[in-house]
Amino acid sequence: MKKLVSFLLVLLSIAWSAQAADLPYKTYVYDAYKNERAIPMFYEPAACETLALKKAADLCCSDGLIYVLDAGSDRILVLDRDMTPVRKLENLGTKSASGLYVDAQGNIALADTGNQRALVVDAQGNVLLTLTAPDSPLYDQQTAFAPDKVLLDSAGNVYVSVAGLYKGAVVFNAQGEFKGYYGGNKVETTAEVLTDWWWKNILTDEQRNRLNRSLPVAFTNFDMDARDFVYTCSSNIATTSAKVRKLNTSGISLWEQITDREITFGDPDTSIGGVTTSTLFKDNVVLDNGFVVLLDQSSHIFCYDDYANMLFGFHAGGAQEGLFLNPVAIDAIGSDLYVLDQRSGEITRLVLTRFGQLVFSALELYNDGRYLEAGSTWQQVLDMAGQYELAHVGMGMALKKSGEHRAAMTEFRLGNDRVNYSSAYQSVRIAFIRQYGVLIALGLAALVLVWKLTRRWIAPGAGKALSPVGTHLRMMLHPFGGMNELSISRKYSLLFAGAMIVGLIVLDALKFELTGFAFSAHPDHQPYNIFRGAVSAVGLIFLWTITNWGVTTLTDGTGSLKAVLVSTLYAMLPVLVTGVINVVLSNVLTLEEQAFIGWIEWAGYLWAAMMLISAQMNIHEFSLGKALRCIALTLLGMVVVLLLLFMMLVLVRKVYGIFETIYRELTIRA
């Protein structure tokens, strides 16, 4: 082993280089809307060792020691935490070994891929167990037993991940007996799987057998924490929430039980030039505090807390200290990370920056439920990174615990935590009602009284002034009668249609701007875009109108285009009214009461659908059945129109591309 670079010493001797700076470890985190947000450095390199390795395969840390598997030389190097060699185990008899795990007792499990077996050896290298393909009907004998990664739990059970085996890890007990499978991924519900399922229902057995089987994806690596919870990571998996799983001893995925927020791991998929790039995880490590650190194939390092909140991520590919050419394994001693680079044979130790230390200690307190104690640490985190959502949530919890619910609401809002925001709001609302409830009740009673007393003078005038509105509202309250009257009178008011269109756009704006934070679905600072609102609110109405008029013309409908437009807009009245009600309610209700908002919204849609059916029956003089068929045909027609529009757009782009190429050829070659 040759010590080539030990910049720990350099860092100690010349502090000029010791100051942590962003470059080149630009760290980021994703906010609640999956936008990349810059944060200060979380980890920084502290030391690096270049080892003379023929083919570095895996690395495992246990009991303060670092074990490095050199598959090319059939040996394991043991280093202390400063990466000074302690001993080595040679001539293990392995061939192209790919996985290594060391338990607290110093027993070493090896995935001896080339020899199609897994080994358990003691600290001196004496073989304790040799595990080969289980002779059991449960084991698919078609799949070669080529172990990839291994784990040992506290009871001595050996978990062997076999390349190509989708059922999960093969589990052997301490005596080497096959016990079954553990933690296999589920089959993903992708479009392809659904199509296959549909075909399988109508095909013959023979044809069905020829189709590909829908199999789950095998995980690529796993690690185990002190409580024997297993953390798996997978690469070729489309469901981002299942890329990393935390499994209990029964193999149940715990993070998939979290439903109050969307959980994702790694970077969102990016598509460049038609090629989609996904995060493909390679290795993971569980720290003592339960946080999991992940390494992906593009040299990114990510960290998630015990509840799958992302703490940080950074791109670690490059030729600078702490960056890697081809990192293959990651493990940890305490919070220090050790990364093995297969190409350069280097092990790099990464240590927490002050910012990282603060976040870790605050989160540890937070996860223990010691919110108040965590508050001051979160404040320090915020002093260093004012945009760190987790810190705002932590501060919010501290404030909530100390009874400062309004301040807590502000913090939760900055942290984009709707659940806790709503909960803090509930406390504020209770306090408000306790303080002003009687006054409000008295005020309402007074209003009713005033109305009763003044009704005879106010009502006639108000009724007259509101009479046009009343006509339209009557239409909403009497959908069948009203539509019938409309079709007979043929008073299709374009003024009303215009007002409705404006109303729908205004509703869209109101929903965007005024919906209570707990119920809004967009970032606080995102501005409202009227064009988007106009397209979504009005575009669909017009598309419906034109398609419906086209369909009903072919099916002997009697309604004109104007009649279709106005009646459709009448049908939208319930949506408008319930929309406004919901905007108001979203500022009053909490998330626990969101069912009310849902009911009102659905009521609005159902009412609108009923009015639409009525409109079809009356203006086109259709029976109920024919009206329903026409509606279905209209919906189908809308899809066709959208498809045609899309195809036309593609065609225009192609033609434009051809002319652009000709122009470029002419100008460049000229």
Partner: protein
């Protein structure tokens, strides 16, 4: 008989030795000499040997045993044995080829104090002259680009000058000084098969399409290279053609057994032009730059020959270029205040940029008052034009942060530098294409921010453009007419680019010249300059955000404050803002080490969520308690500033683990202890100041 045979052999050997000596004498027939050096030419290679008479040290253009190097073969060995190598492109096939001087026909022309070696490549129709002149303090090496003959199918695109002059031999002890960021040392013998270092001087050429970036690195702010070994040192400084240069360093094991570093000059840029989605062609510049390539080498002997001696030499060179009219800022705390930030907003649903005020003039004044009287204010985002990156700008104070009169009052109380970026814009004139530089393919050269996750251009964050050099003069005149205040020149002091527009192309060297003229117009008696590349230093009264770290490359083993050493006593310098660093105490110690000023970024007193804005990376926004903290820090550092004002650093040395001793030219000795244990009289995480002007 046996003795006779032996005598014959001995005589034969003696004759051979004499012949070899005579031949060797023939090959080194020409030499020039001055008081300190002897320059001897090597006729075969066109290289030279410079003998330092002070210590007898030999500086060879080509290492003595380069051809016997076992660590290299083929082209790599030829490069090692060459005084220069070049890349040429075939006009027809547009494919590049590498030509090494060791394979060229060499013609030599002698002058009194130097010689010119002509390297002819007859089969390629190329002929390149390399002139070496002995000077008082060393050597001047020059290539007249106008004299390059291109009579065939090939055009020169790149030229590497003296690729093995700065070479650390196997087994030798020493280091190469690289201008990576503030400076980094590549010690000899740290073998690396995987990593080399290539970085353009003054940053990448922004006229190229850069849809993705490699791992972010510090830019090269100074056109220098240094080497130190056996109590001898050499510093190479590019004195012409610096904007065309790229630093290239190769550790031993990468291409040869030698650690080498040299400058490679891009004489013609080459780019790819897309004709359609699948058809591309290579395009290149037709003309060579109308400048020369010139490097001056200075040599140092004895104990004082390390990077600190090199910095002192470079400081003298910088001082010569500095006008006496440019005033130097007094030491103090630089308060970098941001007046406002742009946030996406909407009016009646129509998307517009919304201005969110941050630190208004009153708040800045109050904060500066709270710190004390030694404050220099850099006011950023103070005008609408600056916020919206509009050019040509005639900026006026943003009403949301105060009035012109308030700004004047602030400028009377403190030195205020209003930030302007005269080279980068998002909107200009009526047609952006009239104002923005173009790529070789004649498309607009767009500038993006990069995603931290993917390192690809984050197009959703908007696009900016670089101003055409031809517009520099007008833009500078308009800004200086509109502003009666001192300026902080942003952008212009930290970028360099070409403009490949067919209707008036500018190469990087020409842009650099235009940039200097613009800075002269803007600076007047001196301006605060952001980043502070070497070409901007003559106009700087203070440099902010100067490189204060290296890229921490794996091939370098130590970061050194070469930049700070070179500017000590010349221009005050600040690095990263103290409130944006991970460890504030360490930032103070760094300031004490080199006399750097402290900088604080101030965003107003009220919390503003900067998520999604341009200021998102200014993470630390809470100013509570910072005024006191800064006051304390300044009172600690004042001992250094008072003792060393106007002086330069003479020596910079590590005296123990995490302990640095800095000796200033007036005798002041500052010892900085970064360790958590005391070192002698120096308390842990503290510093002592002895001698000099200390009160």
């Amino acid at each position: 008989m046996r003795y006779c045979w032996k005598h014959c052999v001995i005589i034969l050997l003696l004759v051979c030795a004499a012949l070899c000596g005579a031949m060797a004498e023939d090959h080194a027939a020409w030499s020039a000499e001055n008081e300190r050096y002897v320059l001897t030419v090597e006729e075969k290679s066109g290289g030279f040997v410079l003998t330092d008479k002070e210590n007898g040290f030999l500086w060879r253009a080509i290492p003595e045993n380069a051809e016997k190097d076992k660590g290299s073969k083929g082209l790599a060995k030829n490069k090692l044995c060459s005084a220069m190598y070049l890349t040429a492109i075939d006009r027809a096939s547009r494919k590049p080829t590498t030509l090494v001087s060791v394979k060229a026909e060499v013609r030599l022309e002698y002058a009194e104090d130097g010689y010119t070696a002509w390297y002819d490549f007859p089969d390629k129709g190329l002929s390149i002259p390399l002139t070496v002149v002995l000077t008082e303090d060393g050597l001047l090496v020059r290539v007249e680009l106008a004299d390059i003959a291109e009579n065939g199918q090939y055009l020169v695109t790149e030229l590497a000058l003296l690729p093995s002059f700065f070479a650390g031999s196997p087994g030798e002890e020493g280091y190469i000084l690289l201008p990576d960021g503030c400076g980094a040392l590549m010690y000899f013998g740290h073998e690396s098969w995987y990593y080399d270092y290539q970085a353009p001087v003054y940053g990448p050429n922004l006229a190229f399409n850069r849809i993705s970036e490699a791992a972010p690195q510090m830019s090269v702010a100074m056109p220098i290279l240094g080497i130190h070994r056996d109590n001898a040192g050499a510093l190479g400084v590019i004195t012409d053609g610096d904007a065309l240069a790229t630093v290239h360093a190769l550790p031993c094991g990468y291409e040869s057994s030698y650690d080498t570093a040299f400058m490679r000059f891009t004489l013609r840029n080459v780019d790819t032009q897309s004709i359609s989605a699948t058809v591309f062609q290579t395009v290149y510049e037709e003309c060579l730059p109308d400048c020369a390539i010139e490097m001056r080498y200075s040599f140092f002997a004895g104990e004082y020959s390390g990077y600190d001696a090199m910095a002192a030499k470079y400081r003298r060179m910088l001082a010569e270029k500095r006008s006496s009219e440019v005033e130097t800022a007094s030491p103090g705390i630089v308060l970098e205040a941001y007046g406002a930030v742009l946030r996406n907003g909407s009016i009646a649903g129509i998307p517009v940029d919304r201005i969110v005020p941050l630190a208004d003039i009153g708040q800045v004044k109050a904060f500066a008052d709270a710190i004390g009287d030694q404050v220099l204010i850099r006011y950023c985002a103070w005008s609408k034009d600056e916020l919206k990156q509009r050019l040509p700008a005639a900026p006026s104070v943003l009403g949301r942060i105060g009035s012109e009169a308030q700004m004047e009052a602030l400028a009377q109380a403190y030195p205020v530098y209003l930030n302007v970026n005269p080279v980068q814009f998002s909107k200009a004139g009526i047609l952006t294409s009239d104002w923005a530089i173009k790529r070789l393919s004649q498309e607009l050269a767009t500038q993006y921010e990069y995603s931290r996750a993917t390192r690809r251009a984050a197009r959703q964050k908007g696009v900016t453009y670089m101003l055409k050099p031809v517009k520099f003069a007008d833009t500078a005149a308009k800004i200086s007419r509109a502003l009666p205040f001192s300026l902080c020149i942003d952008g212009a002091g930290g970028v360099c680019y070409s403009d490949f527009d067919q209707d008036g192309a500018f190469n990087r060297q020409q842009t650099l010249g235009a940039m200097q003229q613009m800075m002269q117009t803007l600076a007047g008696n001196g301006a605060m300059v952001d980043t502070g590349f070497a070409y901007a230093l003559p106009y700087a009264s203070c440099v902010v955000n100067a490189p204060d770290q290296s890229s921490r490359l794996k091939i370098t083993q130590q970061t050194v404050p070469f930049y700070q050493l070179a500017l000590s006593g010349l221009v005050p310098v600040t690095g990263e803002s103290i409130n944006l660093t991970d460890d504030h105490q360490e930032a103070i110690l760094k300031a004490a080490e080199t006399g750097m000023l402290l900088k604080y970024t101030y965003l107003g007193d009220a919390y503003v969520d900067l998520t999604g804005t341009d200021l998102e990376t200014l993470y630390a926004v809470n100013s509570d308690g910072w005024a006191e903290e800064l006051q304390k820090a300044y009172s600690r550092l004042r001992r250094v500033y008072d003792a060393t004002q106007g002086c330069a650093i003479l020596r910079h040395e590590a005296v123990a683990e995490a302990v640095v001793r800095v000796t200033w030219e007036n005798g002041t000795v500052v010892t900085v202890n970064y360790a958590s244990d005391a070192w002698g009289d120096v308390p842990p995480c503290d510093f002592t100041v002895e001698g000099g002007n200390e009160q």
